[in-house]
């Protein structure tokens, strides 16, 4: 029950089927990583979980703590505890980070209840310190003119503030130098615990040196073709994805 579960998911965009029968469960308290080559459908999975309107779910189920979330709007999924750290976060000109996050936190309160400003700022500053973000950050417009690293830090700041039940991190390592990668990873690691399930989507092993997963899944051409422990990531780093792609084309899960 206490898990994000995806069963036999098929997803298409336009005519093209991108996810082709994917099954995966992420229980609370665990960190799972999905690795795969470009075009394997990793980012599509992230967006479908969050309810992006461009993708069409053909069949399958997505449940969060036993509840089917397929019919929920993106904002409802979010308020029920699903968080997506975007690979390419959008810019929102004129809206400060403080105000944006405040609106997001407020959206989670029962109707009629007002956010307590002092508590909110105390928490915000605490999380910013953790992510080594300067206080002046709060008054900057969301993602506008941010460097790649700043954008990703901002995603993790939101993750930390919203404290979801399940978090999907889509290519959070892309565009980060090693120092930023460490800071962002520290932020994520600080979140780990029995009350959150985390799915890390990445192309490279590098991120998994810092956010060490409990399980690693290999995704190729819209399916999980292999699952294993964290050592699987190292193996992929060494051997690459090549063997898997051929197998996936045959339509059979690979057996290494």
């Amino acid at each position: 029950m206490n898990q994000l579960s995806i069963r036999n998911l098929h997803v298409s965009i336009g005519e093209q089927e991108i996810i082709r029968g994917l099954t995966l469960s992420i229980p609370k308290g665990e960190v799972h990583a999905i690795m795969g080559p470009n075009g394997s459908g990793k980012s599509t999975l992230a967006k479908v979980l969050a309810g992006h309107p461009d993708y069409k779910v053909i069949s399958g189920e997505i449940e969060m703590d036993g509840q089917n979330i397929m019919e929920l709007e993106p904002d409802e999924r979010s308020r029920q505890g699903l968080f997506l750290a975007f690979q390419y976060p959008s810019e929102i000109p004129g809206v400060s980070i403080a105000n944006f996050l405040r609106a997001a936190v407020q959206a989670r309160l029962p109707e009629g209840e007002e956010l307590e400003a002092t508590e909110y700022y105390a928490k915000l500053y605490e999380k910013m310190d953790l992510l080594e973000m300067d206080r002046s950050f709060t008054s900057r417009s969301v993602n506008e003119g941010f460097s790649g690293g700043e954008k990703k830090r901002n995603e993790i700041l939101q993750l930390a503030m919203l404290q979801p039940k399940y978090a999907v991190l889509d290519e959070t390592d892309s565009g980060l130098d090693i120092d930023a990668l460490k800071v962002v990873s520290n932020g994520v690691n600080a979140m780990r615990g029995p009350n959150i399930g985390i799915l890390v989507i990445t192309h490279y092993q590098r991120l998994l040196d810092y956010i060490v997963p409990d399980y690693v899944h290999v995704m190729v051409q819209g399916r999980i073709v292999r699952s294993g422990g964290k050592e699987l990531a190292l193996e992929l780093e060494e051997k690459g994805y090549e063997g898997y792609e051929v197998d996936a084309e045959l339509g059979e899960p690979a057996r290494a």
Partner: protein, 469 residues
């Protein structure tokens, strides 16, 4: 002439409400010389005002509708179906206690916060065509500031009133300024003595509250040498089936070194034609600043202007227009440089939703013989839907050397990805939209007084609620 209005069935949405009213004076529908005399009789106009009205009436008749450049929708106005004067016969009140409960309820429905209701102690509120509530803050009165209705202004202070009335905006400026000059009633007259800096903004709330009732208020503000004033007006109107015409004239005079800031936040119901002429005259070292927010209405045509008559005078227009589905906001600014070293600044932001249309028209004139004049114009348009429309018509005439102009324009659209991003953080689609829109206007809104920026934000939220889903 007592007319009993029948109880009205109104959707009780915010801004769209009305209370049954009785009107003591009613000029009936249509406009003839008789109507003008009727208004002049009731208002007990001095002869010069009656004559002024009659002349304006002739000018109004002789002027064509400006449909050769403006929206053809103007043709939908049937002047014969409009009531040009309606009055509850209530005299301006001095104390909050004396304000009729109906009016108080209206203020409540407008959602004016407690803080602001207290502020109403210094408010000139127009309810239908007469100010039913007018209480000048004691301190303001002690400073020698005159803050009265236009009728009292022309009667009790003719020496100042007559000198400037109709001078900034001549009767024949356009068809609607002529109409206003013929039938005006209500509006404010303010005089600030030399050197007096009015600390608190003076405010006026007014709304249209009778079907087919055109509102023609007339405001004249004079700031004497070195004085400063901020004036704020806000309107909401109840929703009726037939078109309603609002045609105001606002004239500002800033004498040497004076500063006037005039702030408007309007939320007209979507059947109102809002055709307003606003202009300020800035003398040497004086500054006139218009902050203008137009929300709602069927068609708004408004181009606040500043004539910079004296050396180093400054003119500024900051405007925000929000055109909802089926609405047309045709707004902009006029900057007429008439002395050396004058500077003007125009920042216009418009938002078009659904089939809404926002038009920017800007006129900037710097003649050849002037030196060191500057104009900066920025207009940014935000389109919410693919069916939304925006047009920009800048007319910039700069002659001579040593004068400079800058013009920047941008059009952007709220992207689906941006909305998805915000929804992923838990905001509904409508909340996401309104946050985007608020972000777009944010740098302008920051220059507003606090309570107005809060109100504007609320109006934008309401507008976005209705446009999504």
């Amino acid at each position: 002439m007592v007319k009993e209005a029948s109880p009205l069935e109104i959707e009780r949405n915010v801004g769209n409400f009305a209370y049954p009213e009785t009107h003591t004076h009613d000029a009936g529908v249509g406009l003839t010389e008789k109507t003008i005399h009727y208004i002049s009789d009731i208002k007990d106009d001095p002869d010069w005002v009656r004559e002024f009205r009659l002349n304006a009436y002739k000018t109004f008749l002789s002027k064509p509708m400006p449909t050769h450049w403006a929206s053809k929708d103007l043709e939908a106005i049937v002047f014969d179906n409009i009531r040009y004067y309606l009055s509850g016969g209530v005299q301006p009140k001095r104390n909050w206690e004396d304000v009729p409960d109906d009016v108080k309820r209206t203020f409540e429905r407008l959602g004016i916060p407690e803080q602001e209701r207290k502020f109403l102690a210094g408010v000139e509120a127009q309810f239908d065509s007469e100010a039913v509530y007018s209480n000048i803050k004691k301190a303001v009165g002690e400073q020698g500031v005159i803050f009265v209705g236009s009728r009292e202004g022309l009667k009790d202070h003719p020496e100042i009133f007559r000198k400037w009335f109709g001078k900034v905006i001549p009767t024949g400026d356009n068809k609607f300024s002529a109409l206003n000059s013929a039938v005006f009633s209500g509006g404010s007259f303010i005089y600030v003595p030399p050197g007096v800096k009015v600390k608190h903004p003076l405010q006026a709330y007014f709304r249209i509250n009778a079907e087919n009732f055109g509102q023609f208020e007339r405001t004249l503000i004079i700031c004497d040498e070195g004085s400063e004033l901020t004036y704020m007006e806000g309107c909401t109107a109840p929703k009726f089936n037939t078109a309603t015409l609002h045609s105001a004239v606002v004239e500002l005079v800033a004498l040497k070194g004076a500063k006037i800031q005039y702030i408007t936040v309007q939320n007209w119901s979507s059947n109102v034609f809002n055709l307003v002429t606003k202009r300020g005259l800035a003398h040497e070292d004086a500054e006139v600043k218009w902050i203008d927010c137009n929300i709602g209405s069927r068609l708004t045509m408004k181009y606040p202007g500043v004539i910079m008559k004296g050396r180093r005078a400054r003119g500024e227009v900051l405007s925000i227009a929000l055109a909802g589905d089926g609405q047309h906001q045709d707004t902009g600014a006029k900057m007429v440089h008439a002395a050396d070293e004058t500077t003007s600044n125009i920042i216009s932001k418009s938002i078009s939703i659904g089939e809404g249309r926002a038009t920017y028209r800007g006129l900037v004139q710097i003649p050849k013989h002037l030196k060191n004049c500057k104009n900066n114009t920025e207009c940014d348009a935000l389109l919410i839907n693919s069916t939304s429309r925006t047009d920009t018509y800048p007319a910039i005439t700069v002659r001579g050397t040593g004068n400079s102009v800058q013009h920047e324009a941008s059009v952007s659209q709220v992207s689906a990805e941006q909305i998805f991003y915000m929804q992923q953080r838990g905001l509904t689609e409508a909340q996401a939209m309104s946050l985007s829109v608020n972000g777009f206007v944010n740098d302008l809104v920051r220059q507003f007084p606090m309570e107005y920026s809060v109100e504007l934000k609320r109006l934008i939220e309401l507008e976005m609620e209705g446009s999504v889903g």
